[in-house]
């Protein structure tokens, strides 16, 4: 755990949002097609998710899960988010901590990650989810996940997915702001990529060494992609069209670039800001 965490009092989403997301979001929210879809579908999605939320998941409280609530509430303070979302748990062997819902988001965490992740990883995961709430893309993510495959919805779905892929970069930045540990962020990424927990714990403990590893890893990924650039381009187009989440290596690359560029400046700005609180 870092010896000092910076609390970003007064943090605006615009300070960490991916610039492409801002442009795409403006285009999307301004379009009549988007407004029409959201207004019709939002209440339906809330009702659709009700059964799982209340009938299957288990709602956690400060009394039953004090450790998780302590981390969540600290992350809310760090990222300067006013609302306290409800927290639900479900049984899954997955690295899941997601905001769900539409107009009133709630968080859902898997029992596996709650038990296995270390404290800094949980800060990252909560930060990732809460950054989605702060940046305002929970509703659109959940509506998209409920949209059926339909020829008439193809074009709006492509536009929404393009937006969501960029929005993933914003969530990752929020996660890093919350945990302030690049090694913890990378542990989460490589765990999701499939490395076992003991391997990620062993490999990614110090930020500098982790950054060096990630830089080398991404260089090797680029070399591999360049061996068959046509196939790489085709694969990326396929993923862009079909997946709600951005490709994992692209997300890691975005996070690494931001870690090396704007992240230290943002950290320093809030450290220097009068009235900021360090732990």
């Amino acid at each position: 755990m870092p010896s000092n965490r910076v609390y970003f009092r007064g943090l605006e989403a615009a300070e960490f949002i991916h610039p492409d997301e801002m442009n795409l979001k403006s285009e999307l929210t301004a379009s009549k097609g988007y407004q029409s879809i959201v207004s019709k579908v939002s209440n339906l999605v809330t009702a659709y998710q009700f059964t799982n939320r209340v009938g299957v998941y288990t709602r956690l409280t400060r009394a039953s899960a004090p450790a998780l609530f302590e981390i969540m509430e600290d992350v809310l303070l760090i990222l300067d988010v006013d609302c306290v979302p409800e927290l639900y748990m479900f049984h899954s062997y997955s690295q899941t901590l997601l905001p769900c819902g539409t107009t009133e988001p709630y968080l859902v965490i898997s029992d596996y990650i709650a038990a296995e992740a270390d404290r800094d990883m949980l800060y990252y995961l909560f930060g990732n989810a809460i950054a989605m709430i702060k940046a305002g893309h929970v509703e659109i993510t959940n509506i998209t996940s409920c949209m059926p495959g339909n020829l008439w919805l193809t074009i709006p779905q492509i536009a929404i997915k393009r937006y969501l892929h960029i929005a993933d970069a914003t969530s990752d930045r929020g996660g890093l702001l919350a945990c302030q540990s690049f090694s913890a962020a990378v542990r989460c990424h490589f765990l999701e990529l499939g490395l076992p927990m003991d391997a990620v714990q062993r490999m990614f403990q110090e930020d500098d060494e982790t950054a060096e590893y990630v830089s080398d890893y991404l260089r090797r990924v680029r070399m591999l992609n360049a061996e068959d650039s046509a196939l790489t381009v085709l694969a990326e187009k396929w993923m862009n069209l079909n997946y709600i989440e951005a490709p994992a290596n692209r997300m890691l690359s975005e996070l690494y670039r931001w870690y090396r560029s704007d992240y230290p400046r943002l950290l320093q700005k809030y450290r220097n800001r009068r009235g900021c609180k360090d732990v």
Binding site: V54, G55, T58, L60, A63, S64, H91
Partner: protein, 268 residues
């Protein structure tokens, strides 16, 4: 020792009875006997799962024997260990009952919950649940080979899906009678969903039961959410947790008070 009338939910009894009385299901069972479907199922499990017995997992097998004695089953079911992160204890088989226990659950559950989960399914086996579960296996895996028309399969599936949701209430009641503990039985509703430390702090079955608020969220749902829940129920073979919670708490209050216990509300 418990008889079916002590714990079988009336809707479980009624729906299972209707299902087994269907002419098409009778034809299907005759065909299964003739083609030794039972033996095929046992063969499949023996070929793919380690057997649980007095030599392999004696403590677990002892729980099965205790449960069988409690619910007066004809013989202990064949027990197999499955590698399944998402399962607890499940009945299987067709005419000869089989009990499947998840390796993850055996490691994760405490002794009371493990015994309760086993007893719940053994109680179901004493009621003949394996026949309904076996029908599910047949429809899911070899419906194209069955000697009954598709329309009869569909009719049986509708009834089967309703029954599969109600059978859990009987199993939960059996779990309660076997453990003698409302708290331990309530824990079996959540012990796969939340870790032990959170489960302990939920204080289930006490006046400060953490789940009560969520239960009220479910019962106070909006009309749209209720409708969606009803539609989702048609595609699910387990009741929603608040329904099991309500049934169990209701049975706890009236256990042994009347024949068959309480009717409970109609959830579907």
């Amino acid at each position: 020792m418990y008889k079916p009338k002590d714990y079988q939910h009336p809707r479980d009894r009624a729906l299972l009875g209707q299902l087994l009385e269907m002419h098409a299901v009778g034809q299907l069972f005759d065909w299964c006997r003739k083609n030794q479907a039972d033996r095929a199922l046992v063969y499949a499990y023996r070929a793919s799962c380690p057997e649980i017995n007095a030599a392999t997992l004696p403590a677990v097998y002892d729980m099965v024997l205790r449960a069988c004695e409690m619910f007066e089953t004809e013989a202990p079911p064949l027990c197999f260990l499955t590698h399944d992160y998402d399962a607890r204890v499940t009945a299987a088989g067709l005419f000869s009952p089989i009990l499947l226990l998840s390796d993850t659950y055996i490691q994760r559950a405490d002794e009371a919950c493990l015994y309760g989960a086993i007893a719940g399914q053994v109680g179901g086996i004493a009621l003949g649940h394996q026949r309904g579960i076996g029908l599910t296996w047949l429809f899911d895996n070899i419906s194209g080979l069955l000697p009954i028309p598709g329309v009869a399969v569909k009719a049986a599936e509708v009834l089967l899906n309703q029954w599969k949701r109600w059978r859990w209430f009987s199993c939960d009641r059996a779990c309660l009678l076997a453990t003698g503990s409302e708290e331990a039985t309530l824990r079996t509703l959540f012990d796969l969903s939340v870790p032990e430390d959170i489960l302990h702090r939920m204080r289930l079955g006490t006046p400060n039961d953490d789940y009560i608020a969520q239960y009220h969220m479910f019962t106070d749902a909006s009309a749209a959410s209720e409708l969606v829940t009803m539609l989702n129920s048609m595609q699910s073979d387990t009741p929603w947790t608040p329904e099991r919670y309500r049934e169990l708490r209701s049975f706890c209050e009236t256990a042994f008070a009347s024949e068959g216990g309480t009717e409970g509300e109609d959830f579907i």
